[in-house]
């Protein structure tokens, strides 16, 4: 079982990450790759770039905890999560999630689970940089209620309370 978590400023290459995850394994029957990409507009307004701030140590720990939760839940053969920080221009990837399993259902479910949690629990904050580059044109992206709803569906029945909200 290969688990890779990387937070990096540089662009990533999905193909080489998948090749690394598959290397020398012949029991993988399904690979799901999710790439989140910076769009050229946000809520209909053009953007020049996204600037991502993050809390490095906590981001790595939090992503690791969610991968562990996914492994408890689905029979995974490999997971790779790469999240970028810093300045990202339209068309570039922001986040990469790769999941591998014997069958497709586990790979799909784990990738969706990880993305839903990354959106709402991984300590990253996006700031929009408008074209022109004035400081006043930097706006923090607001959290989407639909992302909270998406993450909610993975919660276990509320028998035992987690310490966090």
């Amino acid at each position: 079982m290969s688990v890779i978590v990387r937070l990096q400023r540089e662009a990533f290459d999905a193909a080489s990450e998948v090749a690394a995850l598959k290397r020398s394994r012949t029991d993988i029957g399904a690979v799901v790759i999710f790439t989140g990409i910076c769009r050229a507009d946000e809520d209909g307004e053009p953007i020049a770039a996204l600037n991502l701030e993050h809390y490095p140590d906590m981001a790595e720990a939090e992503i690791g905890r969610h991968i562990e939760a996914a492994r408890q839940r689905w029979p995974l053969l490999g997971v790779t999560v790469i999240h970028r920080y810093g300045r990202i221009v339209p068309g570039e990837g922001i986040v990469l999630v790769v999941t591998a399993s014997t069958h497709r259902q586990a790979a799909f479910a784990a990738a969706e689970f990880l993305m839903d949690y990354l959106k709402t629990r991984a300590p990253f904050w996006k700031q929009v940089e408008k074209p022109g580059g004035k400081t006043s044109d930097k706006i923090w992206v607001e959290a989407r209620a639909s992302d909270d709803t998406a993450a909610e569906r993975w919660k276990p029945a509320p028998t035992k309370r987690e310490p966090a909200n």
Binding site: E53, M58, A61, H83, V95, A122, W125, W140, P163
Partner: protein, 83 residues
């Protein structure tokens, strides 16, 4: 204990981090937010809506009723927008 601020909480407070020594009686995250909000205009602005600001103790998400005794690093930040 060390406190860290991120994104617009950081911008409003005007610091990325600081060492603080809150008085006895500040037992929970909620107490700490109330105390910080009285430390100046920037703090008051950052915590004007305490229900919006999220918190972590030693790199784990916590709720406002979490106790801060023994914490070495506390962080405050807006709802996350990664992914």
């Amino acid at each position: 204990m060390k406190v860290r601020y991120f994104a617009w909480v950081r911008e409003r407070v005007g610091k990325t981090e600081e060492d603080i020594d809150p008085p006895a009686g500040v037992a929970t995250i909620g107490d700490l937010v109330d105390w910080l909000a009285r430390q100046g205009e920037g703090y008051a602005y950052a915590f004007e809506n305490p229900n919006v600001v999220r918190s972590a103790i030693d790199k784990r998400h916590v709720r406002s009723d979490a106790r801060i005794a023994g914490a070495s690093e506390i962080a405050f930040f807006p709802p996350m927008t990664g992914g």
